[in-house]
């Protein structure tokens, strides 16, 4: 049984919706009724069936439409995908990892046939059937990183490891929560995280860097992060902030359910075999408030998290204008009952 890929938009008329099944598998990010930064890194191992962790690289009902949105972003702004010259090998590593995992996890949708360095890749949902020579960029329509990430949901940063640090030296970023690859490319781990409030003082990034530098091949890790987005817009880039910023003033008590989205990032970390680079996929999941409150536990808990969020985090996440309206709306779904531990919807 294959995935029922939807045709929908993440701009203009915003026809994005989650099916009830997709709502049930949403990676709700709060395991308790409050939130503060933590490193929260755990092993990225295949998880329970019908969760987003069932496979190493989740493909879901939004796949085809998300890839279409990525193509639109890249046509308008090619600087969203960049790779410093020494990162081509890491691009081939990335292509190999994504192709082999997709073909293994979803054989009805993707297949990979290898005869030495002659590879044959079939992506049925996107109608792609390409033969190429592994390691020879001239045999692909794009460089290897761009080629395979135009076929993979989520943003991807590729981090070079040298001089006791990680360097943001390649990536494709079209669904970001407000950071610019073009500005940050070439920066080290502390530099590109520099604008994040509070976490540096807490030592979060020093601990995270130490962990990531020691990450071994075949032992990927993951963590999650969250923010909120008005309208189901994937491209909330700083580049286009002057175009989408006014969305944040459009929230009213009447439209919260449809317009306001919880946005969860699953960040993953893979050591790449040839380049020794780290692949850092950042997968974004959106859920409408109307969809979220179909789980009474999630509704209660998110109300409490949002209500009690420290002001500097609300500011950094860009929630200040509409937080009171959303908290008020969510309060109707919070009867004060205790919530059970853990992420699940109950």
């Amino acid at each position: 049984m294959g995935i029922n890929f939807k045709q929908e938009t993440f701009r203009d008329d915003f026809s994005f919706r989650n099916s009830p099944e997709q709502v049930r598998r949403f990676p709700f990010p709060f395991h308790e009724d409050g939130y503060m930064y933590s490193v929260n890194i755990e092993p990225h191992v295949p998880g329970a069936k019908n969760t987003v962790f069932e496979h190493l690289f989740d493909v879901d009902e939004h796949y085809v439409s998300e890839m279409h949105d990525r193509a639109l972003v890249l046509a308008e702004d090619p600087l969203r995908c960049q790779s410093l010259p020494h990162m081509t090998l890491a691009g081939w590593d990335t292509l190999e990892l994504l192709m082999t995992e997709k073909a293994k996890s979803y054989p009805e949708h993707f297949s990979l046939t290898r005869d030495g360095d002659k590879w044959h890749w079939v992506n049925r949902p996107l109608g792609i059937d390409d033969r190429f020579t592994f390691g020879d960029t001239s045999t692909l329509p794009y460089d290897p990183l761009e080629y395979i990430t135009r076929q993979s949901q989520g943003d991807f940063a590729v981090l070079d490891q040298r001089d006791g640090n990680l360097w943001m030296d390649a990536g494709i970023v079209t669904t970001q929560a407000d950071w610019s690859l073009d500005f940050d490319i070439g920066m080290n781990f502390f530099e590109w995280h520099a604008p994040v409030p509070l976490a540096h003082e807490m030592g979060v990034f020093k601990r995270a860097l130490k962990f990531l530098m020691a990450l071994q091949q075949g032992q990927p890790a993951r963590r999650h992060n969250w923010t909120m987005t008005i309208n189901p817009r994937l491209d909330t880039s700083p580049e286009n902030y002057h175009k989408w910023g006014t969305d944040r003033t459009t929230v009213t008590p009447e439209n919260v359910g449809d317009k306001v989205h919880l946005r969860v990032e699953i960040q993953m970390f893979f050591r790449l075999p040839r380049s020794n680079a780290l692949l850092f996929p950042i997968r974004c999941y959106l859920i409408k408030m109307d969809e979220l409150v179909t789980s009474p536990k999630w509704a209660r808990r998110f109300h409490r998290v949002l209500r009690d969020l420290p002001p500097e985090l609300a500011e950094y996440k860009g929630l200040v204008r509409y937080r009171p309206t959303v908290v008020e709306w969510l309060s109707k779904y919070d009867d004060g009952a205790p919530t059970s531990p853990g992420f699940g919807p109950d």
Partner: protein, 199 residues
């Protein structure tokens, strides 16, 4: 978050003479004073092996005679960074192992010389820098990617696309620029007052 704790921002030091076969000193405006201070501690033969590239800018002729009195092996006075750039590139291309680089003056100059040095393969950690004079910033508009030079106000109007930009403390060495992000994107009718803060 205060500028001091912004970890993407370079930390500048104080120029001091290093052991080396040649010395390339690049400065603008008040940066000349940093070279003159370095000279007080320099060994006798230091400037006989030194090349000074100086862009006086707003300082005018104030430091020219004092710099020449150091008797550098070569002295160049340029009207702007752009005018000095081909010469700077050639100097890096011809530089030998053992050449030491010293940069002093505005943050914009330091950043742009570091850019050229990085293109020539010089490790940024091996360069001496000292900030002197104007705190004006080079700002890249994240929207149109245009660079606005000599920014002294917060916010500032992008000299390319005209958006009103918040000048962040987030700094890119690759662009040698601070990031500018539209300050009133959420409500374009909200025009905050402009303050002169980078002097």
């Amino acid at each position: 978050m205060s500028a001091a704790s912004m970890l993407s921002r370079p930390v500048y030091g104080t120029l001091s003479p290093q052991a080396g076969k040649h010395h390339l000193l690049v400065a603008d405006a008040e940066g000349a004073a940093a070279i003159l201070d370095l000279a007080k501690n320099a060994p006798a033969d230091f400037f006989a092996k030194a090349h000074i590239i100086y862009i006086p800018g707003a300082s005018g002729p104030e430091y020219i005679d004092a710099l020449k009195a150091l008797n550098p092996e070569r002295f160049y006075e340029g009207p702007s960074f752009a005018a000095a750039l081909p010469r700077l590139r050639q100097t890096f291309d011809a530089a030998h192992m053992g050449t030491r680089l010293y940069i002093a003056g505005s943050e914009g100059l330091i950043g742009q010389v570091m850019q050229v040095a990085a293109e020539a393969g010089v490790d940024h950690a091996s360069i001496q820098t000292e900030q002197r004079g104007s705190l004006a910033r080079r700002v890249q508009c994240v929207h149109c990617k245009g660079i606005t030079e000599n920014v002294t106000t917060q916010p500032v109007k992008c000299s390319h696309c005209g958006l009103l930009l918040l000048v962040r403390d987030h700094y890119s060495r690759r662009y040698a620029a601070f990031q500018g992000v539209c300050i009133n994107a959420e409500d374009p009718t909200d025009i905050p007052p402009t303050e002169e803060i980078f002097r």
